[in-house]
Amino acid sequence: MAISDVTEYLHLTEEEVEQIGRELDQIRQEVEDSRGAADAAYINRMIKVQRGLAAAGRATLLVGTQFRRTRVPAAVLGGGLLAVAKILENMEIGHNVMHGQWDWMNDPEIHSSNWEWDTAQPAEQWKHSHNYVHHQFTNVLGYDNDIGYGILRMAREQRWSPANLGQPLYNSLLALLFEWGVALHDLDIERIRKGEKDPREMKRQLGQIWRKGRNQVLKDYVVYPVLAGPRWRTVVAADLAANITRNLWSYVIIFCGHFPDGAVHFTEEEIEDETRAEWYLRQVLGAANFEGGPLLHVLSGNLGFQIEHHLFPDLPSNRYAEISERVRALCEKYDIPYTTGPLHRQYGQALRTILKLSVPNSWTSSDQPEPPTPSRDRRRRGDAERPSRRRELGGWSRSSSLARG
């Protein structure tokens, strides 16, 4: 079984699958050929803005909190500026730089090999757990640890246990403490639970996390508060608020990328020996976009274009918007689901899945509509024969009937 045997693709001939691959290759090539000074200016400007916001936030907190009349507004403003700076640094800068999106500039600072971001997880571990495990095994059950982060049951194929009843609570804690949840991500809690983790590797990773986490805590909760002198409590509170704001925002954006209705889960067999075109198809169906204006997309690291990000994780994020128009047209041309919708709806669907999967499958029904029965002979089908997409949900359904048990 291959990815091209997944229900959503059965209407495509093998030649069509390859043609889709060629057209996506062409998009990639054109973006690479046109990559240049304007893109470099974009990331340099973004870093400048982010550092300006961070400096303004820190200065506002240190100075503004010293005076009784300005203490509260300074705490709110400073904390807000700092939160936006952290969001920009993590989402639009750090995440994308570590994918190698800007390596082509050969800039000694803006390079995947040496960027360390403003969050508790060490960059090295992120590049393994996210760039490799998540992007290579996108939505593959048992492989992709982003499916519930080892804490939440996010697919009906996953076995239910009484511990899942606590999902609403776990989910709230994960959202509030997201930075720390991500920090532990590469440890692979599942393997530790099964006793499969190499203890020496675990010790090495824990040491890295300890050092990085300690530095983050020292910076936000010791050094800057100490600089504020008697107003240290206000600065601690503002820094905490900034970190929690960043945590909540990152959590929402990331959960909107793969858990709205329409994002498909796969099995190991489906990714065996997949070709480049089939890999492309899996990325399209395993990811979900959300709609919004340019500011929303920048603040979300352009992960509202999650499909495009998964297709081309190392192309510059500022190009995803233009790429998305072509990818969407391609999906419509070949009648491939392209899952998208407003942010609130995408997150609402993800949250509903979390709540419903906290109880056994038999207690709830799947929100994924049954896919139309596709042809299995892989012959080319006419327009009249092709099922129409369920546009009210922004996409089709999951592939596996087991998911609706």
Partner: protein, 133 residues
């Protein structure tokens, strides 16, 4: 040569010796590890995070096509690899600022993924002696 803990040979080549045949194993890249190196951005020899510049080793054909099968490496690891038993004497080292990871297509006769270095910085024609003095 710096290798990962518990491994005698370079990471992406698995065990450096094919135990069944007794032959050196540098002809056989482990596909999963190659992909891991590509996406995790770690060196194919020592499995540590890559630095700058990024080095690639390949024969004259790979250098000519600017498409390599071996994963990205540290420059020092690349040089060590050229001197490793079983290394192809025709291997050359090139350096770059970035790379693209190209998965094989259906019609490709060569079913191995390839690396296309970007922002090329230069190359060296063969192994360089490493002095221990």
């Amino acid at each position: 040569m710096r290798t990962p803990r518990g491994m005698e040979g370079p990471f992406a080549w698995g065990d450096a010796t094919d135990r069944a045949t007794g032959l050196d194993g540098l002809e056989r890249l482990e596909r999963r590890r190659v992909t891991q190196c590509a996406l995790s951005r770690v060196c194919g020899v020592c499995a540590e995070p890559l630095g700058r510049p990024i080095a690639f080793v390949g024969d004259a054909r790979e250098v000519g096509r600017n498409a390599f099968h071996a994963p990205p490496l540290h420059l020092d690891c690349a040089r060590d690899l050229l001197a490793y038993p079983g290394a192809d004497p025709g291997w050359q080292v090139i350096t770059a600022g970035a790379y693209e990871f190209v998965r094989p297509g259906r019609d490709d006769t060569d079913r191995r993924p390839a690396f296309v270095p970007v922002a090329l910085l230069g190359g060296s024609s063969g192994p360089q002696p490493t002095s221990t003095d």
